[in-house]
């Protein structure tokens, strides 16, 4: 029998998955996996900040992720450091500062493990409302900016030269990543969030023949990952956050195994 908290975890997880799949495709296409990682590591700093200021964790995480992303854009103009190096610096610096800040707050009993790996079984109805309304906003923004985002992914210069609103679309893109991180933080934790963005997209790539079909397949793969992972954690009594990542990894392996079969099927 499914307990109530498990059902809530499932509904919340699927809500995140529906969004992380399509958004993750853009992260993969734009080779921004490390960028997403950096933004999500900064989420820990955001949690520390919101505890300090007595804010809702969502807002702390959301604003710090955006600040980090904008800082990256600014620093990239320096030219002297590659963006890869910059990401490495900011990613670990923000993670370290976040951990130190949390350790100073001795008046609070913060469960660092749940911040790093998520605490999906403790989500309440308020969290569910946040997940589904936040998710709906992300999907709507993604839908209405799809053409511009895709065009600037294929070629920033073509899209800009032919008059598409590139800057706006790129800002919205960062906003969407920050939103998903802020919403997913409680479910899967700062260290594992990007896995739910990247692994389902990679699995979907095996079968997709257009950007649009890849986005839909990634949403499906992310849902399957979440459901599989939560069931693994139920059976093995394992930590649900890592179990969801394991689920995603298994889905990815299955996609690799099935890809040749599907391809030969399509040829005939």
């Amino acid at each position: 029998m499914l307990d109530d908290f498990f059902m809530r975890a499932m509904i919340g997880g699927v809500g995140i998955a529906l969004v992380s799949g399509p958004l993750g495709c853009f992260i993969v296409w734009r080779r921004m996996a490390y960028f997403g990682d950096t933004m999500s590591h900064a989420a820990l700093l955001g949690i520390a900040l919101s505890l300090m200021l007595n804010l809702m964790p969502f807002w702390g995480v959301f604003s710090i992720s955006i600040v980090i992303a904008l800082a990256l854009y600014g620093l990239e103009k320096l030219d002297r450091l590659s963006s890869d190096t910059l990401l490495g610096i900011l990613s670990h610096a923000s993670l370290a500062i976040g951990l130190i800040a949390l350790s100073f707050m001795t008046w609070l009993r913060v469960d660092v493990m749940s911040l790093l790996f998520g605490d999906i079984l403790s989500i309440n109805k308020g969290d569910l409302t946040l997940i589904w309304s936040g998710g709906a906003i992300v999907l709507l923004l993604l839908f209405f900016n799809w053409r511009t985002l895709l065009a600037s992914t294929v070629s920033h210069d073509i899209a800009a030269a032919e008059g598409m609103p590139i800057k706006r679309a790129n800002l919205i893109f960062i906003l969407l990543i920050a939103l998903v991180i802020a919403v997913a933080m409680k479910l899967i934790g700062a260290l594992l969030i990007t896995s739910l963005l990247i692994i389902p997209a990679a699995a979907a790539r095996q079968f997709a023949r257009s950007p649009e079909s890849m986005a839909l397949l990634a949403a499906l793969a992310a849902c399957c990952s979440t459901i599989l992972g939560l069931n693994i954690s139920l059976v093995w009594d394992s930590n649900p956050g890592p179990s969801i990542v394991l689920g995603a990894f298994l889905i990815f392996l299955i996609s690799l195994a099935m890809a040749p079969i599907v391809r030969s099927f399509r040829k005939n």
Partner: protein, 268 residues
């Protein structure tokens, strides 16, 4: 050369980056139905000039003017698209606009790659990709077509036919064409005006005029002769092109000029 009916014009454009002068007081304009070619050595600022005109990079001083709602078709030097992005030629054609299948096929037919309609772009050769990108720019029925080193990565035979194609496009679409090339003689015969760029404008004007200018000869003199010889030689192997050997020499450079160049080289 700035005229009121020019599609795009830049006046006194300077671009500085990191204390280095990339462009110094460069003026350029393109009107309907004319091909303007920018040539110059590597690092001479050709691509920087294109990007400044297209608004893709900020200029330090000067002015860029574009006709109202100018419809631009842009063919960049190179696309680097991540392999995780499943993109067919068909989908690439509708990157920045919506077109019917008939329109797409017609545009691809024009550049001779309609048989690639359903192929993924990751399997195209360099020349096929350039033709697809050209078709993608043409389908927009652009008033201004901007081509950045269109023959890069294209083999020799492909190079000739690609330039013939570009010439025929001008005739058919009556659009202005702004072309960047490091390759002198192939481009010369089709161009109305040539601008020789090495940070500043060394010389500009009609192709024959530019070729006789001492500045041009200083930049390209000896190198030009070297590249010309094998061209003339190889032309002879393609009788289906008529007698391009003579043709090129008539329009772009006659033997008399060779002598002049040699003399000036010796003198200098």
């Amino acid at each position: 050369m700035t005229t009121s009916n020019s599609l795009i014009s830049g006046t006194g454009i300077s671009v500085h980056s990191d204390g280095k002068v990339l462009l110094d007081n460069v003026s350029i304009s393109v009107s309907s139905g004319e091909i303007v070619t920018v040539i110059g050595p590597n690092g001479g600022g050709k691509t920087t000039l294109l990007k400044a005109l297209l608004g893709l990079r900020t200029i330090t001083s000067g002015k860029v003017q574009r006709a109202n709602d100018l419809n631009i078709g842009y063919v960049p030097q190179k696309l680097s698209i991540d392999r995780t992005l499943p993109l067919s030629v068909h989908r690439l054609m509708t990157l920045t606009g919506t077109y019917s299948k008939a329109e797409i096929i017609a545009a691809l037919e024009e550049t001779g790659v309609d048989h690639k309609l359903h192929d993924t772009i990751h399997t195209l050769s360099g020349g096929e990709m350039q033709r697809v990108l050209l078709a993608r720019a043409l389908i927009r029925k652009p008033e201004l077509l901007v081509l950045d080193e269109p023959v890069q990565g294209v083999d020799y035979i492909g190079e000739i036919s690609l330039y013939q194609l570009i010439e025929s496009i001008r005739g058919k679409y009556r659009c202005g064409i702004l072309l960047v090339s490091h390759d002198l003689h192939m481009v010369m015969r089709a161009s109305n005006r040539v601008i020789c760029l090495n940070t500043h404008v060394c010389c500009s004007g009609q192709p024959t005029h530019v070729e006789q200018s001492p500045d041009y000869q200083r930049l390209f003199g000896t190198k030009g002769l070297q590249t010309m010889a094998p061209y003339g030689h190889r032309h002879g192997h393609f009788p289906e092109n008529g007698e391009p050997h003579d043709h090129i020499h008539e329009e772009a450079c006659d033997h008399h000029h060779h002598d002049e160049k040699k003399e000036s080289h010796h003198a200098g």
